[in-house]
């Protein structure tokens, strides 16, 4: 492989040399062209100034075109321009990123003043791409940009959550109502199994550490970014877009750019205030546990249904079980609440031609609907740009954040209050008569006591900083260097009161801390070259060299026998500490070639060397090629309603090494084991010298079209991507001394298409007239396992060739025998025979946890100062499984157990007498079926299809007259709501249909709705 490495270096060097040679050639060519053009038709010169209609600031970089001419210029930093056009040109067209294209008639004027309005459509001219920006028309990749309106003033704790429904091909789903927790995001399906299947996040050029950084307390690194500080988000999806991220780009890249300063006459101050409430959005009629009376009715019936017990007295059994029938605790009221939400934001932007800045600060508090769950965030950001000279400029940015998240244990652990809420009997009192907590049931996991006394708090601090310098050698060649640091510190406090849970009379409380630092740094050097070689050819290219590293250092002590103030522990339990690090060294090259402004070819190549692989496997090469054709620029193509039409395609190879163990290729002995205070070593990992990157080959064919003078825009993409060398963890036969081994064992394919339509349904005649815009998106994904070394089943999924990665594999429930009320399961694959013995039930494929399609429909209405934003999100055709189903459907088998409560659906639909046709078996005390009736089966599998009013906002912008009187620039007030209404297809589904990517419902904090009011004031 060393030969390969050297070969690449040599290749790279040659490319650089040839690049420099072309620089010289190009300079000669272009100067000769200039002289050659002079002799054409008569011309006139028009000059003027372009300003931002919103604040009067001069706009730099606006493209100015003669209406039908090819001539074009760009405005300077002060907004001025001068253009020489043919005499017959009567109007000029002004286009710029983020502004509406404006045409101004010039007639005989030699000077014009132009105001550009900011636009919110994503059909902007320049797209943010890997290592820079690129003209949209020349872009051959598939990328979605996010409408800023859906991110700004959004109460969701991280911008990632706002991706749901707002970018085609992006599946973003949280499934947890814990504010500040990380959602699961998959771009164009699931392309990894043993490695991380989510995207790479790049903020201001720094590939970020994402996800939970608090060792399991679910503190999301991306939530540290203040959504209002974001200038743009681009989701990169295909090879053309992602290949430059090499070994980390396979599952998509999310590029975030923060707001930078603008040179304005006047410094703009902006204040935003929001306040609101979170409500839980459970479907109360179906999930609610039974009241004492209902449960006793149910158990009495179950008692009579068991021949072994029918002759004994139920009432004396009640006495023996010490059940106080007068107690009726409403566990839901005790555990859930209405949570408050507040958010305060301040920012200022301004500057001169040479120096501009953006500063911001924010404070927010978001209380979840489970008592004691909350999330506080403080952020501050400072971005500075300075131009030393026409040739040399630099940017500096610093962003600080603190998040404090209080949460609880989740999942199927007893200390999870949500689990207790569903399962605890209503006859159990919370308190003793003296007011102290009852701890004599459920292993002392009194959920109210736990919520009020235990602490699980993650405090995380983030520093993100970058400095980049640009040097322009001449109009063609420039150089830039970018140094970035993404540093986070997590400090956890876990405190367990000795009265609850794993109570331990003499332990006097348990305390655990975790202190972890993640340092993620990067240095990038880029040499850029661009040139037009004659009227027809243009080339933009850049080459870079990059080094980055991530180091995670942590210490995790715990102890018992706490001091009176709970601050110190007399008896230390464990002090785990460690350090893991990885490094990456890369070289890359990217080129875009344009011919006649209508044919575009792009290519990129990147070499990565990673410390995660054995020395012989450390490097790999990734590449992409793309092509685009702007059809409407062809003379032969003049189809009336079509304003523009571009066809593009790309193919390439990208890789994934995200989420892989830093030392995954080595055979290891663990050094942390000990026996009687002597430390020992044990074999802990089997090596894999051939471990290598996952390789992803995405093919994308896309079409961008605009109709009716841009009133209607359409973006269509079809893709298929095959990921081979999938890293899979297999269970190792125990005789190998380890549980798992991992290697490149499979391949998987994701295919689908994406459509986005933006339509201006009603265009206002006057600027503040009625306007109605609709945006609709539709995404599909079909995931297929193409190769897998070994069939495997895990957590109710089957993994085999021909099915998708989240294919349910569960016993088929056949309902209830109407003659005797026993549960039935199908015992053959054709589903013709049934059995009432669970052991005889066979597991079968039951559909996928991944939706067939999903998307959104957004309508925006504007009239005068009013605007209404309504977004519907839909998710269709998936199956979701309630892992807690067996727990709350014990059908009497739990007897009088403290955690034997069932949900109301089971109560209302239970079999009572022969002839009843239902899906809930008869209650039988302690159960008599061979194998409990409530065991895992399709009884707890639901259709996950839903449509949700995900986001609705009504806002009013106060009239300018009024605002001016108060010496303000603008004031708007609004009301906004998230998840207000939900339509669920499956009427049996007891919980909110939003789950994580795996489609499981498992006693997580409930999803909530947020209703808030806010104001946005500009000074």
């Amino acid at each position: 492989m060393n030969i390969n490495k050297h070969a690449f270096s040599l290749f790279f060097l040659l490319l650089q040399i040839s690049l420099l040679v072309t620089v010289n050639d190009a300079t000669c060519q272009s100067s000769s062209n200039k002289t050659g053009q002079k002799a054409i038709s008569p011309k006139k010169t028009i000059s003027g100034k372009v300003i931002n209609a919103a604040n009067g600031a001069p706009l730099e970089g606006v493209s100015v075109h003669g209406k039908r001419g090819k001539v074009k210029t760009i405005t300077k930093a002060d907004g001025t321009f001068s253009i020489e056009v043919a005499d017959e040109v009567t109007s000029l067209e002004f286009t710029s990123v983020g502004f509406e294209t404006t045409t101004v008639s010039v007639n005989n004027q030699s000077s014009v003043s132009v105001q550009l309005k900011e636009q919110s459509s994503d059909l902007s001219e320049v797209v943010v791409v890997a290592y820079g920006t690129q003209k949209k028309e020349t872009y051959t990749g598939a990328a979605s940009t996010i409408n800023r309106q859906v991110i700004e003033d959004e109460s969701r704790t991280s911008f990632e959550e706002s991706l749901q429904g707002n970018a085609t091909g992006v599946y973003s789903s949280n499934g947890s109502g814990q504010p500040g927790s990380a959602p699961s995001i998959r771009i164009r399906g699931v392309g990894s199994i043993g490695a991380f299947a989510g995207p790479l996040y790049v903020i201001d050029g720094i590939p970020m550490v994402s996800g939970d950084i608090s060792n399991g307390l679910n503190s999301n690194a991306m939530a540290a970014v203040n959504p209002n500080d974001i200038a743009s988000i681009a989701v990169l999806k295909d090879a053309s877009a992602t290949a430059l991220y090499g070994s980390r780009g396979a599952n998509g890249v999310i590029l975030v750019a923060t707001k930078k300063g603008k040179a304005t006459d006047k410094t703009n101050l902006n204040v935003r205030v929001q306040t609101g409430v979170n409500f839980y959005s459970l479907n109360g009629k179906k999930y609610r546990p039974l009241t004492t009376l209902e449960m006793l009715t149910y158990l009495r019936e179950g008692w009579a249904n068991n021949p072994d017990f029918a002759s004994r007295s139920f009432d004396s059994a009640l006495v023996q079980a010490k059940i106080d029938t007068t107690v009726n605790t409403n566990w839901i009221n005790e555990i859930l609440r209405v949570g408050k939400y507040t958010n305060l934001q301040l920012n200022a932007t301004g500057g001169s031609e040479k120096t501009s800045f953006y500063i911001s600060g924010s404070l927010s508090q978001n209380n979840g609907v489970e008592k004691s769950l909350n999330h506080q965030k403080i952020t501050a950001m400072f971005n500075l740009s300075h131009r030393v000279s026409n040739k040399f400029s630099f940017n500096f940015g610093l962003s600080l954040a603190q998040q404090i998240g209080n949460n609880t244990v989740i999942g199927s652990i007893n200390a999870n209050p949500i689990k207790a809420m569903y399962k605890l009997q209503s006859w159990l009192p919370i308190y003793n008569t003296d007011g102290s907590y009852r701890t004599d049931y459920y292993n002392a996991n009194n959920p109210v006591g736990i919520l009020n006394n235990n602490i699980r708090r993650a405090t995380t601090y983030f520093v993100r900083g970058f400095t980049n310098g640009f040097y322009k050698f001449n109009n063609h060649l420039s150089y830039e260097v970018n140094v970035g640091l993404d540093f986070s510190h997590a400090f956890n406090l876990i405190y367990q009161d000795n009265r609850f849970g794993n109570k331990n009379v003499a332990t006097n409380g348990y305390i655990e801390n975790y202190s972890g630092d993640i340092s993620n740094w990067i240095v990038t050097n880029i040499l850029r070259y661009k040139n037009n070689f004659n009227r027809y050819h243009s080339l933009e290219t850049f080459a870079g060299y990059e080094t980055s590293g991530i180091t995670n250092t942590y210490i995790n002590p715990s102890g018992t026998e706490l001091s009176a103030d709970g601050a110190s522990a007399a008896v230390p339990n464990q002090t785990a500490q460690g350090k893991v690090s990885s490094g990456l060294v890369s070289q890359f090259l990217n080129s875009v070639y344009t011919y006649r402004n209508r044919y575009f070819i792009s290519g990129s190549i990147r070499n990565d060397e990673s410390s995660k692989f054995s020395p012989s496997k450390q490097n790999a090469i990734f590449w992409s090629v793309g092509a685009g054709w702007e059809v409407t620029k062809e003379r032969f193509f003049h189809v009336n309603p079509i304003t523009s039409l571009k066809i593009r395609g790309s193919y390439g190879a990208t890789g994934n090494s995200l989420g892989l163990s830093e030392y995954g290729y080595q055979s290891l002995y663990n050094t942390t084991s000990s026996y009687d205070n002597q430390s020992g070593i044990t074999f802990s990992q089997v090596g894999n010298n051939s471990l290598t990157w996952e390789k992803n080959y995405p093919l994308n064919i896309g079409l961008d079209a605009a109709f009716l003078k841009n009133r209607l825009a359409l973006v269509f993409d079809w893709y298929t991507r095959k990921t081979s060398d999938l890293i899979i963890n297999y269970h190792a036969p125990a005789v190998n001394g380890v549980s798992f081994y991992s290697g490149n064992f499979g391949s998987i394919r994701n295919t689908g298409f994406e459509v986005k339509v933006v339509s201006v349904n009603i265009k206002p005649i006057k600027p503040d007239g009625f306007k109605w815009t609709t945006e609709a998106s539709f995404s599909t994904n079909q995931n297929t396992i193409l190769q897998i070394d070994r069939l495997s089943t895990s957590s109710n999924y089957i993994r085999k060739v021909g099915v998708d990665y989240y294919q349910w594999y569960i016993e088929s429930y056949a309902g209830v025998d109407s003659a005797n009320g026993k549960a039935l399961w199908f015992s053959d694959s054709a589903k013709t025979k049934t059995t009432n013995k669970y052991a005889g039930a066979i597991a079968q494929q039951q559909g996928s946890a991944m939706p067939k399609f999903f998307g959104s429909v957004t309508n925006i209405f504007n009239y005068k100062g009013f605007s209404l934003f309504v977004q519907l999100f839909y998710n269709w055709g998936n199956k979701i499984y309630n892992t807690n189903g067996p727990g709350v459907s014990s059908d009497g088998s739990a007897g009088f157990s403290a955690i034997g409560n069932i949900n109301i659906y089971n109560y209302e639909h239970r079999w009572r007498k022969p002839g009843d046709v239902t899906d809930v078996p008869a209650p039988v005390i302690y159960g008599t079926q061979t194998g409990l009736s409530g065991q895992s089966s399709t009884r707890f599998l639901y259709d996950g299809s839903y449509i949700r009013l995900r986001d609705v906002m009504i806002s009013y912008k106060l009239p300018d007259r009024l605002v001016a009187k108060a010496r303000l620039s603008s004031v708007s007030i609004y009301a906004r709501a998230n998840n207000l209404l939900t339509y669920v297809k499956d009427k049996r589904l007891p919980y909110d249909p939003e789950t994580g990517i795996d489609g499981t419902l498992n006693q997580r904090p409930p999803i909530y709705r947020t209703v808030l009011v806010g104001t946005n004031i500009n000074f």
């Binding site: 290891l668 002995y669 000990s674 205070n677």
Partner: protein
């Protein structure tokens, strides 16, 4: 010219950055909390650490930390699970263990983890050169690795394979047809392309392997019983490591399970004759049992404040201050009078959980969940007497009286009411005599992880008291379900793996 100079200067400064970026040191990273496997067992200190690692594996909750103690008692007739429970081992209480059982999987996994770690020590340590001063300790470490492996294979055989005498013919000639342990003697697999996917041996081959390991171990271990640490005998390790006498104790038990009575007597004699171990005193038996390195212990798995299984420990499962979800059965309690020294391992009281049983035998054989200074007894002297007694009676003839003497010794020591049988003269009276020994074993070794194996190796039917005793299940001594299933994950990951017939 000036412009060129400035631009060159900047280019140079950029180049500095470029060079920082060139530094490929970032590609050299080493793990913490782990060492590369090639650095393990290369000298005396890493070999010592690897042997300590073996014992740390034995403390695991899936092995002597909990499962290996609880499961044989719960499946047998000594223990029942309270109706108010934490859901642990419930399928063992209800005789509904399935192929996917997580406890079986955990136990299987940890046992083989012990095996592969022991293999690596045995294979590599022999080629590690050490100084003369270290050579005694090195030999001992190798001996311990053989001993721990023998115990692990024996536990694999007990939990996952039919008993040695499962076949019906008296000579047990058909044992070869029953699937035994998976036997691998190699070191850890060096790469995942070299993983082992072996098939099961037979029960006979498994026991041969155990016997061979015991023999090797006895050759390597100092016959003084000393346990060396840093070149010198360390008294504090005498009972918490498998020394020469611990291996003899293992050999005695293995021989008994194999119906190899002369060897059972021979090995038990070695332990008893050394006089390094004494029976607990009758009046203070319960307290002495709880003590670490008590006078009777031959080998115990160490717990302390820092190294313990916490809420996953057997003490937590028994103590009413912990989960306390396992209760003694009345059937066991009623075998003893209040005069019996061992009745103190049960207390009649209320289950400390709302709606739980009242006035039931609560277990306190292991109950220290505050300091955890309480070790798990794997071999102790009383068992040696009972083994020798059972073996001598089976040998019969001149040995029978000695067998009865051993039994009497325990009966006297414990104030037991077990009636000493007459010297057996027929098959029937032998059966009666063995029954008496089994009864005494039941009282003596209750809650220590023996009962199921004593029932199954003697093909005795029993009543399983389920759900706190509210449900009674009839269990058959020769049932195919008296052993655990081979874990489903194992069957799926190894095409040659054979499931036990009962599953």
């Amino acid at each position: 010219m000036k412009r060129i100079t400035i631009s060159s200067a900047i280019q140079v400064s950029f180049f500095v950055f470029f060079c920082i970026a060139c530094n490929k040191n970032v590609l050299n990273t080493t793990p913490s909390n782990a060492i590369n496997a090639s650095d393990a067992i290369k000298d005396i200190s890493t070999t010592r650490a690897a042997v300590v690692g073996l014992y740390s594996l034995m403390t695991n909750t899936d092995y002597y930390g909990c499962s290996a103690v609880i499961i044989p008692e719960l499946v047998g007739d000594n223990e029942t699970q309270s109706v108010q429970n934490n859901g642990d081992y419930t399928s063992y209480d209800r005789n509904s263990v399935a192929r996917g059982d997580s406890y079986a999987q955990g136990t299987w996994q940890i046992l083989y983890s012990v095996v592969i770690n022991a293999n690596t020590i045995i294979n590599k340590a022999k080629y590690v050169s050490v100084s003369a001063a270290d050579s005694i300790e090195m030999r001992q470490l190798i001996g311990e690795a053989y001993a721990v492996r023998a115990l692990a294979y024996f536990d694999i055989a007990r939990f996952f394979c039919f008993p040695y005498n499962y076949s019906t013919d008296s000579a047990h000639t058909t044992i070869g047809s029953f699937p035994g342990a998976v036997i691998v003697d190699s070191s850890y697999p060096s790469d995942n392309s070299k993983l082992y996917f072996p098939k099961r041996s037979t029960v006979a081959q498994t026991y041969t392997h155990i016997v061979n390991d015991i023999d090797s171990s006895l050759l390597y271990l100092p016959s003084s019983g000393d346990v060396y640490n840093n070149r010198h005998p360390d008294a504090s390790l005498f009972k918490i490591r498998l020394n020469y006498f611990g291996v003899n104790a293992l050999a005695a038990r293995v021989s008994l399970y194999m119906n190899d009575y002369p060897n059972a007597v021979r090995y038990a004699n070695v332990v008893i004759a050394t006089n390094k171990y004494q029976l607990y005193h009758t009046n203070t038996l319960v307290d002495e049992f709880h003590q670490q390195a008590g006078i009777e212990s031959i080998f115990e798995v160490a717990n302390n404040q820092f190294n313990n299984q916490g809420t996953n420990s057997v003490a937590y499962a028994y103590s009413q201050d912990g989960y306390g979800e396992f209760l003694g059965t009345w059937d066991l309690y009623n075998t003893m009078t209040t005069q019996d020294a061992r009745i103190g391992f049960m207390t009649i009281g209320d289950r400390n959980s709302f709606g739980g049983e009242t006035n039931v035998p609560l277990i306190n054989k292991y109950n220290n969940i505050t300091s955890y200074l309480e070790n798990i007894k794997v071999f102790r002297l009383a068992e040696m007497y009972l083994i020798r007694s059972e073996a001598e009676l089976n040998i019969g003839g001149a040995s029978a009286q000695a067998g009865l003497d051993d039994l009497q010794n325990i009966i006297t020591s414990r104030n037991s009411t077990t009636v000493l049988p007459a010297i057996p003269t027929t098959a029937t009276t032998l059966k009666t005599a063995i029954k008496a020994i089994l009864l005494e074993r039941r009282k003596e070794l209750a809650f220590e992880g023996h009962r199921l194996f004593d029932l199954s190796r003697t093909k005795t039917n029993w009543t399983k008291y389920s759900r706190g005793g509210t449900v009674k299940l009839n269990r058959v001594g020769t049932s195919t379900r008296n052993i655990m299933p081979i874990p489903l994950s194992e069957i799926r990951s190894n095409p040659l793996m054979e499931q036990n017939p009962g599953y």
